[in-house]
Amino acid sequence: MTKLTTMGALGLAVACGTATPALAAGTTAGSSITNTATVDFQVGGVSQTQQSASDTFVVDRKIALVVEEVGTVTTDVVPGQTNAVTTFQVRNDSNETLDFLLAATQIAGGTAAHGGTDSFNASNLRIYRDNPSTGTVGSYDAGDALATYIDELAADTTARIFVVADIPGGLANNAVAGVQLRATAREGGTASTQGAAITQTTGANTAGKDTVFADAAGVNDGARDGAHSAADDYTVKTATLTVTKTSRVISDPLNNTTNPKLIPGATVEYCIAVANSGSVAATSVAISDSVPTQLTFNSGTIVLNGTVTGSTCNADGAAGGGYSAPVVSGTIASVAAGDTRTLVFRATVN
């Protein structure tokens, strides 16, 4: 049911209708929309003076923004790593250029962005804005500036933001730290200066430009609060090593290799097995073992990098390592995730 008011717009002639370009985010806030209708008619066959009537109103400001993680996977890190990066983007869907205040936080326990359980906090959390013209655009590099807010982001434009942190040492494989980025709309208009906070216009309309919040709820903010937020996380991928040492009698002076016994003069083979149950290879694994005083090391018998089958150390290693009484040592170049490698040597019972 149309409720007509007697607005009598004839007196409301406005200076000019604007011709603002059409943006996906919409007509720029503050623009006037003027509608003018004209009437042509005749009386008694004579054309009369054309008449017109106009109506004008102002387009108000709609604040909308989206913060989202770039990509769909966690950022893999190793313990002790510095400058680990999670990547976000902030898109201004409002109909005005605005500043956006940024806040990066970490969650304390609970489920992180990709399903893991948050169990540690990274340190030295910082925010950088990707420089869109220098360096590697899209990736964190030395050309990106530290940022506490996004300056003058135009309507329909996206800014890429990096949240960068350092990972503590001593973390277990698959430990997770969840991070969140929140952007809050602030007044734009003055470059290199963070704009003032924006409040929604409540109650009666003003003749000027009013503000309506149209944002959705993010991970740590509510709907229609002028802010949006998203989450990402770091997952530790490291090697987890377990060492086991086994021995077996190879031969004795009397039985030789047929059912040898552990009598003086018997040759014993030691196998030190390093198993990696982590997610990445362990490199430069240095093994050292002291030969018990009751045995004498057999020089030239150190074999490195052999494999195991079940609980049996295979004889497939290569000569290497060194002996400096009473320590047998050797370095295995790499133990892959899920693999087991050995250092094997022989000694004779005194």
Partner: protein
């Protein structure tokens, strides 16, 4: 007596000077908002355009009234669409529209748009640039009516 006849004759002549105010035209805009009441039924409200943001649906209402003492003939109302408004529909009055800035006119279904590669495609509501109502019959003295069309804020 003769003087009186002359005066009457003078008064009976068509008064061109009055024609400028003969037709009153009123132009209003409302924002169309759909709300769901407690029973779950949707109600459409027309509100004053106090807070209008891109995406809002507008209803433009033109009221005309022949307030003169002569019928108004060949009555044509032309409404160019504001640049920040996209045409949606025009109710029952079936106006003709233009999609090329006011040169060619016709029903929307009959119009085509020239594309950059030289071919023509059927015109859509978002192409409309002007709306026109042309009345076949004169508007009688005291006659009035209401026309409306809908648009969406770009």
């Amino acid at each position: 007596m003769r003087t009186a006849l002359f005066l009457l004759a003078a008064l009976a002549a068509p008064a061109q000077a009055f024609a400028a105010n003969q037709v009153a035209l009123d132009n209003s805009v409302f924002v169309e908002r759909v709300s769901t009441d407690a029973a779950g039924k949707e109600r459409v409200l027309l509100e004053e355009p106090k807070v209008v943001v891109p995406g809002d649906r507008l209803v433009f209402v033109l009221n005309y009234h022949n307030s003169g003492n002569q019928p108004a003939d060949k009555f044509v109302i032309t409404n160019p669409l504001p640049s920040a408004v996209r045409f949606a529909d025009a109710g029952d009055a079936q106006p003709i529209v233009s999609v090329d800035g006011g040169h060619a006119w016709g029903a929307l279904a009959d119009l085509t748009v020239l594309q950059p590669d030289g071919t023509r495609r059927p015109a859509q509501a978002s192409d409309v640039t002007h709306i026109r109502w042309a009345f076949q019959k004169p508007i009688p003295v005291g006659g009035s009516g209401k026309l409306m069309f809908r648009g969406i804020v770009k």
